[in-house]
Point group: C2
Chain length 410, copies 2
């Protein structure tokens, strides 16, 4: 008998959760530690209790529901988040938590006794919108940030993380950093167009991308667009344009996992007949391989050096963020592929170009990620969509992977 999850039960929970923080056009807004987040947490806690899990709220408000195993050993942990961006959809994060609960309800239903405990976790403040300290919950779960440090985080609305956590009643006492999972699994929507476009059911994540963020400020000289000969210009806007076109060259030359994007720009004084005196642009470089990501950064910096000479401008470079890429665990990758094949779903190994709680977990314990398709690659948007069948497939792969891992030695 093929053990499978119950699709309608999964979709029912997902719909109920999506009602909390719903706004008019089908979107969801549940910023971390707001009243909406509290209501969603209360609902998840209730579901965990309905499934007879041992529930814990840890010091940073991570919700943990444990289904005991035959032995009291390191658990298999399934986790994701239920906070959203301001104009989010109903799948990002929530899909992973709901699939985890559904996997456990299936174990209950089939009365399966796993060797290892199986736990579901919802991590606090993954999105990092209200509190810029993103992945805060998973980082505290791994002991990478202390609860005391987390409490001090100031929100964009000037609230204090620790105070808001208390206010909504989720400042727990279970020590963060006290669980070291045997394995961590996260099911998530892809948030990219690949699975949808290639009509593949399951993305098996091999690595989670590293990120380097820069702000580049180019200082030239403002001058009259008509009276200044080309040879006498110090056109900061032209340099900005050269950098953006070079980013595409970087991406094209460093393999298909390299991403390079300029998303934001501004010119000063930004007038049609004035040569830009100043240009500011943002740069987002990503690669799942650390050495290649560093190579991309170096090429960028070398190019900037060339531009200062060629265009007679000054360039200031600020690295705003650096996230080290992480590989998923090879044994877990194979287990997910095995499960997918046994279930008869198509799969594709791929890189996660976005950051997830699994990135934090991957440096803490063996970690795997299961992607399900995002229609049109859209996410962080009310139009975000994954079909019930696609979610069912992902949850089935999750369940089968949990079963395999909870029996097996690693």
């Amino acid at each position: 008998m093929q053990l499978t999850i119950n699709k309608s039960r999964l979709m029912k929970r997902l719909s109920e959760l999506a009602r909390i923080g719903a706004f008019s056009d089908g979107g969801v807004c549940r910023l971390a530690l707001t009243d909406e987040d509290k209501a969603a947490r209360d609902q998840v806690m209730q579901w965990m209790k309905d499934l007879h899990l041992q529930t814990h709220i840890d010091q940073v408000g991570n919700l943990i529901g444990v289904r005991p195993g035959a032995k009291d050993i390191a658990p298999i942990v399934i986790g994701s988040h239920i906070d959203t961006v301001p104009t989010g959809g109903r799948f990002d994060g929530a899909a992973g938590v709901m699939a985890g609960l559904e996997a456990i309800e299936s174990l209950n239903e089939y009365k399966i006794q796993t060797e290892r405990p199986v736990a579901v976790v919802t991590f606090t403040n993954e999105e990092g919108v209200r509190y810029h300290n993103d992945l805060l919950g998973s980082r505290a779960f791994c002991g990478y940030i202390s609860p005391e440090e987390a409490y001090k985080t100031v929100g964009t609305d000037h609230t204090i993380f620790g105070e808001e956590l208390k206010r909504i009643g989720f400042a727990g006492e279970f020590p963060s950093g006290s669980i070291r999972p045997h394995a961590f699994l996260e099911l998530h929507i892809e948030q990219g167009p690949v699975l949808d476009r290639e009509q593949v059911s399951i993305g098996v994540v091999e690595a989670i991308t590293g990120i380097a963020w820069y702000e580049i400020t180019i200082q030239g000289e403002a001058n009259h667009a008509g009276t200044t000969p080309i040879s006498m210009r110090q056109d900061a806007g032209l340099t900005a344009a050269r950098i953006i076109t070079y980013l595409r060259e970087i991406a094209n030359s460093l393999g298909e996992n390299q991403r390079a994007t300029c998303g934001a720009i501004s010119f000063y004084p930004n007038a049609i007949n004035v040569i830009p005196e100043k240009a500011t642009l943002s740069i987002d470089l990503r690669n799942p391989d650390k050495t290649t990501l560093e190579e991309a950064e170096q090429r960028l910096l070398d190019f900037l050096e060339k531009c200062t000479i060629q265009d007679n401008v000054q360039i200031e470079t600020q690295r705003l963020a650096w996230v080290e890429p992480r590989a998923c665990h090879t044994d877990i990758i194979s287990t997910i592929i095995e499960a997918t094949n046994e279930l008869g779903y198509s799969h594709k190994t791929m890189v996660s170009g976005a950051v997830h709680d699994a990135l934090t977990m991957a440096s803490y314990c063996p970690t795997g990620m299961i992607f399900v398709p995002s229609k049109g690659g859209v996410s962080h948007n009310p139009a975000e969509y994954t079909s019930a069948d696609e979610l069912e497939a992902g949850a089935n792969v999750l369940l089968k992977t949990v079963l395999k891992l909870s029996q097996q030695k690693m």
Copy 2:
């Protein structure tokens, strides 16, 4: 005996005029038809009367002071403007009018009877800041715009040109379009860096640039900067960057008089981790040769066509402005050069990359322009500067050119 102007008299008038509308950091603000413009007009009218000129105020408020010649034939007209941009300097426009008055005072002083009448004109609303209808005074002077049409112009402050002209007492009765000059001369600061950098005293303008202004809107697709493979992107920002770098190629390939500038840009949504869905940019193309300017436009449009295919984006193009270039009159150019040589000043023939009243006049009567250096190429700025010696040289060339033209047949 070398006939020359009186430098200290010239500088005195320039200083007195600069006090009207002066603001703290040395700048001048005299928007057209404001109280400051009225005060400056009153002052100029007074000076014209002091010089025993026949004064007229025409229907759009152009101030005309005529020194009769031996014969009542077509006059030599010297003209420029005394309105400024909001944060202007003391030389742009004013230098030309003050040099004209000084040339006439020198004629008076030396009791020279010219064959032709010599007139000084200050044109209304050259800058086109308060009333976007720029070069309004010179266009009415040539009969290219009727006083009735001019009166209807609505200001950025919602005032009506005709009403404001009456309010300040300069709605004259002298018919605009009734004087057809034998020749028109304008002395102006270069507003570019060339004379200053090359240490040349006099710029002899051969042609006044034409201008084509565009707004380009590129529509791509917003997507996640991490999860969207390069091959699946529709990056409006990248296309914008390609266009900007191509503008430099246009300029480099169409000769040194071609200018091509992107001064203003915006991305939407303008976020570091989102591929731009939309990019808007301004384009300023200039060339003193109409055919070449049209060639530059065509190359731009062809390139946009290529981009829509290469980058899978849509591009909308709007031509915001088109100003036809005008050549100065060859006989006047030679006369200015002759005068400059006789006075022993260095000169350079050049193109005016900015627009002036002389552009309008050049299609109405034989026209010439004399440029004096702008320190660092700076203009439309309180730091705008031309030295007393440089102005003296320019005014001397103006006077000598007037003398030559007022005797000679053309």
